[in-house]
Symmetry: C2
């Protein structure tokens, strides 16, 4: 306390005015401040240990240097990749504020509005609910991540989930599977819905194949997924389900764990596959067949668009799409018995 160094103190120390100090610290002194004064100011700044007060600066400028990412669930390591990508592109100039929604819910208008109170330079919203966009109304540049179907609302970075889902469907049908159980994510994000829809399209569209027998739902957690599976299995078993597909890897782990408890062999009795391709999926036992989602690229791209928006470039509702990649591993196998 009391230890705060202000621009006024620097100005006095350097024998110049606050305005001069401001110009120097913001690098706007090209031909506006004499080299001698620039040097004096720099010296004083160093001696006094002055740091710009971003709060005051933000108030004066009308917007902060904060880029806020609103994301539904960072317990999924997938987000670590997204965040890493964002940070790479943002660099030192902007601080990333990660605002986590409660309980894996989709970002709502409320969260967006709360974030707006900080006058962020930009807002990155992951898998938003459909209803929230009005809240923003040109208050801050906004980029949507993984929000298929919302491209008309704001620049959006999407995963080409359809192609990936199809690839997964093809893989499983080619192994002889005909009846599937699907474990969805309860957050109800569009992206999850599309994963499921594209899969069902592929499977039922392959001619003569039965469609997914039933859809169980759980929040994205190991335990919840295990419980959901345990509950669904009696019915699924009667329906002849030979393969379970999960919206996320974490849920697949839960299913595998629960299936073991039920005495099922993976992939002998049941094939399991999912979306995310976390690192562990390569080494788990059985290793997990999974669709790799380009998390880092997603983050990088979103941040790039945000920067362009901040700089006033009229990003024409860009709609970038990154493709996923299917990794076939031990958890899926051909149907051996009938």
């Amino acid at each position: 306390m009391g230890g705060r160094v202000t621009a006024t103190m620097v100005a006095r120390h350097a024998g110049v005015s606050v305005a001069t100090v401001s110009l120097v610290v913001n690098g706007k002194h090209r031909g506006r401040v004499s080299p001698a004064n620039v040097a004096k100011v720099r010296q004083s700044i160093a001696e006094l240990g002055y740091v710009v007060d971003r709060v005051a600066s933000s108030l004066s400028k009308g917007s902060s240097d904060l880029v806020i990412l609103i994301s539904p669930d960072i317990s999924n390591p997938f987000f670590a990749g997204v965040i890493a990508g964002i940070k790479q592109v943002l660099g030192k100039r902007y601080q990333l504020l990660v605002s986590v929604t409660d309980d894996g819910n989709l970002p709502q208008a409320q969260e967006v509005r709360a974030s707006l109170e900080f006058r962020p330079a930009a807002l990155l919203v992951f898998a938003p609910a459909e209803t929230f966009v009005d809240a923003v109304r040109g208050h801050a540049p906004m980029v949507l991540i993984d929000a298929p179907g919302m491209e008309h609302l704001a620049p959006t970075i999407n995963i080409d989930i359809e192609a990936s889902a199809r690839a997964l469907g093809e893989h499983l049908t080619s192994l002889g599977h005909r009846t599937f159980g699907y474990l969805d994510s309860r957050t109800g994000s569009r992206t999850f819905q599309m994963r499921r829809d594209a899969l069902m399209d592929q499977i039922s569209g392959s001619g003569g194949h039965e469609s997914i027998s039933e859809v169980a739902t759980s929040i994205v957690s190991y335990e919840a997924a295990g419980e959901a599976f345990t509950q669904a299995w009696p019915q699924w078993s009667r329906d002849g389900v030979t393969s379970v597909i999960c919206a996320t890897d974490i849920q697949a782990y839960g299913v595998i764990g629960a299936a073991r408890s039920l005495g099922l062999a993976i992939p002998g009795d049941l094939s399991v596959a999912s979306f995310d391709n976390l690192s562990y999926s390569a080494i788990s036992s059985p290793s997990l067949t999974s669709v790799e989602l380009p998390s880092v690229e997603l983050g990088r791209s979103a941040a790039s668009v945000a920067l362009a928006l901040i700089d006033g470039e009229a990003v024409s509702v860009s709609h970038e799409v990154f493709a996923g990649q299917l990794h076939v591993r031990e958890s899926t196998a051909a149907l051996t018995t009938s």
Copy 2:
């Protein structure tokens, strides 16, 4: 743009002064504003869609409602637990800003200073380096998490890593293991050092037992750990190592993967154990013997102390300690052959 509603506009709309509006929005109107005016203000706020500008508010008050967590590595799911715990306690009043350090480095003075620019209500620093504390000097209340040996600098929440490490050591020695390899974390945090030291104490102190033969080091990543193990194994093998202990679960996964590539059976040829007890550790194959670290409790406790500090309570350099819990699983087994 142009759409920003200010307190002045609300005041005019409600026919009162800005001061009254301020009192109402801050809930400080108990006996200071007439019920009639409170109602009018509330009404106007709703009609106009007014939101407090936290930037201006922060400048005026001298500190923001931001609680900043500086953490070295959110790609480790362990942190998701810590963050969840913090958010539980912080509630709606304070926003949590997660500031991730680059590349899994320990939080340095630089990160702390940058965070200070936002005038946070409090700072939570995870596994800090020893050199950084001067940067804060009473600018903001600070709580250290998992920082053994730094209790004299600030209120600290620690894991009782010694007891856990001892439990792990006992488990392994009781299985007949006498020679150990240890895979450390390169970040060099005190907590990692203590994990190792306590283990060595236990092992060598058990009388007649050989101590850990050698210490390999890697950053906390699956790949790096695998490489470190592959490099260390020839020597370890000659030394008679029968058990490898890792500073984190993620590294243990790497070791298990690498060991497999070398044709080693786990736990037949080699027992593996570690610290963290991530969810996956229960279902990996072999499932992993691991010390559970109380991540959520850690976060909750740190946030509680932070709130107390914010409220001006003189937290007497509290030094809370949470115990870990050993989960024995398949990756460790008794020595069968000699």
